[in-house]
Symmetry: C2
Subunit: 384 residues, 2 copies
């Protein structure tokens, strides 16, 4: 029963959607070739430039984030070309699968899950592969919570004939990734993360270097053809039918982000993740990521606790949906996301639930201790 069954969504996508966006998306659907809709697209176009911190156009597709990752591979590289793929988790593996699907020649940098790639390793791999046309990486690995050193890697690729392609699906709007300033060539994002919208929209920002490659690319592409979308956007429309209602929501959220400013958004995520990490440590639990990102906090399931049972208990009894581990981390970690329409009290909710559930499964932690550490963090932050 809904009334006695309040749910809490703390997964790294989908995320809770703020009421204003829900209301915007509940507006009557309009036809996408009307001038009124073009005006919405034009506003979104401007706002996306602000969000991605770029002067160029940001393309968007009706697709999940993976669609935009595929678009990058299909548009920016040609069969037989060599690309360096950083694999430190499930989403690094996805870059590899896409590269192989399109007949590229991936050179893998395999990183231990839970660790970041070192810029030195990337530099060395670039040196060893002077014919590599791209580096495919995550801003952070959502499967491990680890942040990769994108700025340092961009400094390596910027002056070379190599495209740096960054999956920032759950990173955009969470911490600074100034596209033009860093000299990233392609950056992918999705609607169901810090944009706090339902899934269904993906985004790609592109550098001039990337555009030149997209024009010359030889892989087949139709729906995800960057050239087609760029031309359409210049005419204030889209190549194919856009996700009208999601774009209403996007327009609303982007307006709010411009109102408060990116810095405020970044500070918000730093605060939530900082408090959550403090809480996890106070419980004597281990953080999985060595270089943790601000989008989510990943906790190692303690020895002797069945990770699947833990997730099920939190989901079915406490109605709190966090995410479990993926692939080789299945059953080994709990992923608490801070993304979307959340505030400090959601961190409290996550920690209190984890405390109760661990105790129920026989792993004794001091009730309230994680919560108290997060509270202390929030109070200290408030005094700054």
């Amino acid at each position: 029963m809904d009334l006695l069954d309040k749910k809490h969504l703390l997964a790294p996508g989908p995320v809770p959607v703020p009421p204003r966006a829900l209301l915007a998306m509940a507006k009557p659907v309009m036809h996408h070739r009307l001038p009124e809709f073009s005006a919405i697209l034009e506003k979104i176009r401007e706002d996306l430039r602000y969000l991605f911190q770029t002067k160029g156009d940001v393309l968007f597709f009706a697709s999940s984030g993976t669609g935009a990752m595929e678009a990058c591979v299909a548009n920016l590289f040609s069969p037989g070309e060599k690309v360096i793929v950083v694999r430190g988790g499930k989403f690094g593996e996805r870059w590899g699968e896409l590269a192989e699907t399109y007949g590229l020649e991936p050179v893998y940098i395999d990183v231990t899950w839970g660790e970041a790639v070192s810029p030195e390793t990337v530099a060395q791999t670039l040196e060893e592969n002077p014919d590599a046309k791209g580096v495919l990486i995550q801003a952070h690995e959502t499967s491990t919570g680890v942040k990769h050193p994108v700025a340092e890697i961009a400094a390596l690729t910027r002056e070379k004939d190599v495209l740096l392609v960054v999956d920032a699906i759950s990173a955009l709007g969470v911490y600074p990734l100034p596209f033009d300033e860093l000299g990233i060539d392609a950056m992918v994002a999705g609607s169901q993360k810090s944009l706090a919208l339902p899934p269904g929209l993906s985004f790609v920002a592109l550098s001039e270097k990337a555009w030149a490659r997209a024009e010359a690319g030889k892989s087949p592409r139709y729906y995800f053809d960057f050239r087609r979308e760029k031309k359409a956007l210049a005419k204030q429309t889209t190549a194919f039918t856009p996700a009208v209602s999601l774009l209403y929501g996007l327009s609303e959220v982007l307006s709010r982000i411009r109102e408060v400013g990116l810095e405020t958004l970044f500070a918000h995520y730093a605060r939530l993740s900082g408090a959550c990490r403090a809480g996890v440590k106070a419980l004597g639990l281990e953080l999985f990521a060595k270089e943790p990102c601000e989008a989510l906090t990943i906790v190692r399931v303690p020895e002797g606790v069945d990770g699947a049972r833990l997730m099920k208990l939190m989901r079915e009894k406490y109605r709190v949906t966090m995410a479990g581990g993926q692939a080789k981390l299945k059953g080994k970690v709990v992923r608490i996301a801070h993304l979307g329409y959340q505030g400090p009290l959601d961190v409290i909710t996550a920690l209190a639930t984890l405390e109760m559930a661990l105790n129920e499964l026989g792993h004794s932690v001091e009730l309230g201790a994680g919560v108290a550490a997060a509270q202390k963090y929030f109070l200290k932050e408030a005094q700054k």
Copy 2:
């Protein structure tokens, strides 16, 4: 900004509304004289009998709860008639104001705020006033959190020519008040409490004894005329334009309540209020009510803390809206409601917020200690 500004509503009305009810109320408005609407009314009529635990009709009005209180005074008594009014808080005072407005002669039983009336006092007052036509009381005083002994008082009035009129606005559906079994004569409720709907609907259940009085009553009444509504309801309609969308929501919520059963609803509120009281005590804070009800937990603001500042801090900084004290309790208590679309983690939210805010205002409480006591309560409950 909505996105960075998640709000929590923990006041004793309005309350958070569950998504299913919000969606039901978002359905297109239909005309209220159509057969389809009559079918909805007939279903609501049956479901309200279940909720009030009565065989008779439960009337409903497009009004706040006060409208239905006024309706009781206007329909059930005539000018010059004597009524006994239990005044132990702001809502007891409201019965008195209504009685005076309609030219009744109220005999007041003034009870110290925070205490319940004793059945002996009511018995004695009835004896001293054999001409009294009614006893007007609250099931609990929402201003003080105190539960009055309605069952015991009903035993006094049941066999007499005296109507027991109970304001159960925030009590219906929270704990047992079986209307027919106890022999209550009129019981008032509102939509914005345990029914988890927006404000705008009020309800009155009536005994046969009450109906006889309503037929004979001499006070002016038109919109709130019980006789008119009863006739309309028998024809599966309403005397005046009903609040169509709120009734869609009501139908949805009543369906859910029938699905899970009243006992489950009562157990839910007992659990939330029990955990909240445990948390408050663990913080060394004082509960205001001696006989607390399950709808809300009222905490005395500690010495040296400015109650208005405390409420403002929780509302503006933590975005948690609890209720402050009313009338003579202004600034002296915090009222944490458990009503509506809430679960255990809202109790955690309330306690964590109170802990942080009290510390910020210089009243040191152990961070996490109230939360831990509530967690222990929930875990113990779970083992039952």
